[in-house]
Structure formats: C-alpha cells, structure tokens
Symmetry: C2
Amino acid sequence: MLRYLRCCVRTMSNTREQYKDAAKLLDPASTVAKITKRTKLENENAKFVNLEKLEYVSPLGKQGVWEIATRTTKPKGSLVDAVIIVPILKYPNGDKKLVFVRQFRPPCNGVVVEFPAGLVDPNDSIETCALRELKEETGYVGVIRKKTGVVWSDPGLVDANCSMVWVDVDMSLKENKTPVPHWMDNECIEVVDVPLNELEGKIDEWTKQGYLIDGRVQTLVIGMAMANE
Amino acid sequence: MLRYLRCCVRTMSNTREQYKDAAKLLDPASTVAKITKRTKLENENAKFVNLEKLEYVSPLGKQGVWEIATRTTKPKGSLVDAVIIVPILKYPNGDKKLVFVRQFRPPCNGVVVEFPAGLVDPNDSIETCALRELKEETGYVGVIRKKTGVVWSDPGLVDANCSMVWVDVDMSLKENKTPVPHWMDNECIEVVDVPLNELEGKIDEWTKQGYLIDGRVQTLVIGMAMANE
C-alpha cells in the first residue's frame, strides 16, 4: 500500500502486451479478484488506518463527539496524504484525451475507474510525487499545469486529503508513444484513455460492464456536462 | 450524524437572518468550532465507523491483506450509504447558480465547502433522500434531472459510497425565493450560491479565507474548466 515500500518492478518492457493482460485480469466478468475474508481490526493491530473519537466544540459553542477513521501514513511536514493526477494527453492534431487507471480495490470489492494517484513519500513535494506516480502507474511523462490546494476526500468520515494535479502529456514525445509503467510486484493496473467528448458515455458503458466509478471521476464528468450545456 | 435521529428543528422562519448567523459562526477567522480531544476508539465502542482487515485474492491470483474503514450505517437493501446533491438554481432570465453548503467538519477540523448531502434512511429511495436533504439543508425545492450509479468516495481507504443527484431548482417558484432550511439542534449550515462562471475564482478565494474544499467540489470545477478550454 505504501509507495515507498515499492521495490519490485514487475516488468519494464512489452507495454502493449502488459496493458492487454491487465485488461483481461481486471475484466469484471472474469477476474479472480475478490475479498475472501473480513475480520474486525483493532487500532493496535492496524498500520495504515486508525479509528478515533473526536470531542469538539460546534460553531454554536456546544460540545459534540464524532467518530472518524484516520490515515496513519502522512509523512511529517506534509500537508496532504496523497496526490491525485488528472492527466490530459495532447496530440499534435489538437485532440485531447483523459487518462484513467483501473485497479481492483479491496475496500470496494471490485475494479474501480480512478485517476492515477499515490501516497506522498517522506520529503516528497506534491509536484515530484505527481509526476513520479503518473510515470509509475501509466508510463506517461508530463508537465504540471496547475495544482489545487488541499482537498478532502470524505469530510464527514475520514481525515484523508490530497492535492489534485492537472498534468499535460505531450503526445509528440517519443517516450509517450510507447509508455512504460513500473508496477510493483502484486500490482495490476489497466491504463485507459478516453477522448474528452466521449467521457460521459464511457462512464455509463463501464458501469454497465461492472466497473466501479470513483467519485472524483464522476464529478469531473458532471462538471464537463454542466459547462457544455 | 444519522439523519433519522433528527428531531429538533432549530427554526422555521427568518431564513435570511439564519444564513447571516451561520456565515458568522462558520467564518474561519472567528469560529469557536474546533476539536478539543482525540482518543483512540475500538470497534466495540464505535457506532458509525469500524475498522476491518480484508483478506483478498488479487487479479494476479495472489493473496493479499488490506486495512479499511467501513460505514456501519447503510440500511439493509440500500445500494449506497449516502446521496450527494448537485443543485442548480435556474432563474427566469437564464442565469444559473450552483448551491453549496459550508459546515464545520470534525474529521477535517475546519469548515468545509461541500455539496448538500445526507445518509440514506431505511426504506429511502435515492430520489426521496436527495430532495428531502436538499430541502432540509438549503430550503430549496427541486426536480431531479439525473442520478449517477454508485460512486465511491475513497476507494483505497473506505467502503463509503453514494449516488450523485443532479437537481434543477426553479427560481421562479415562490418557495425558492425565500427558502426555509430545517436544521437539527446542533447543526449550523451556511448555504452559498455561486454563478457557474465565477466558480473557479471562488474556490481560490474561499481557500485563501481558510475554508476547506471537498474533493468532489474541486473536481467539478476542474471538469468545467476543462470543457471551457
């Protein structure tokens, strides 16, 4: 789970073949991936997540309590737990595509369509983390156009947060024509690119096929539809 | 936290005054709201969230373990934990605004800009829940234009999910000219509306003022900017 525990690069070549494999292994109709057992976990045995009870004063000055889950992995000095990357492929003819990754996600017990993302390492800048994770997960080399401030994943439930980084990927570059991801040993990621104007239809199609959709991906699509009205 | 525990309606009138109060009480520069104590919590003492260890088979056929937080409040038979509402105010002259709520969120220890949202009650349909929560939190009466499938809040960390519901609010209706929210006893919500074309600048402005931004709100803005390029 922690990116800095990564050590085994699965393979460094034959990228098209790799993508094809990942697509087969992650197809909801045939994947072997599934949860086999769920057990309660106490804080003392948990490495990555903890439960906490918060006592707080409300804006009205009243006492309250709230139960939350906290990430335990944020490096000291980091403002955020993670970076989420919104990668745009830009082709010489003006075409634009968005890049997503699909992975089996145990918390959801299914294959989820997400933006590339990763936890921040100690001494990482958001920029370094974003470009490294993009390269590792998708093989693409990009240039950062913009980053957001701190954004919160699920403010009623967890303290998890991230910065979102909008990255341009120049498709006239040689390394972006044959992108080479670096996956760790037990990682299986499918990289999917979609023309901007086909995105809304794709989400519906993927949902029908049994893929699960990340809330950020869904909301980006709603934002695009709203602007296009 | 659970919507069906709601019983005390704070006030049913004088809505403008209420909004002004909420704005003052939630201003990051002066709010009294804050966390006063954090303590570890074990599953047996937790009502709303639990920690679990999952054992799973990966798409490559290998065994793995994953730590997650789970919501314990999903009603039997419900596909989703919650509903997130994207409300568009539509004015007779063609103007459009988006509606957000601001609340103090203990998990983030700050005042967060979010879409209106609520947990699904037993026997709730997504549609019923969306229109009720919109009315309770903002006072607006709307019509559902579209709802998404199941979307996942933070697929690497929690099993929390929701349906997102896009709601049109007809501003020529009398009840939408003086909207009357129904807040529960310790609830303090500020309703903020923003013209669609001013949204990107507003997020930056709110961040500078010390408000925190929900990831779905941020991603919607990125989607709009992307479509407008």
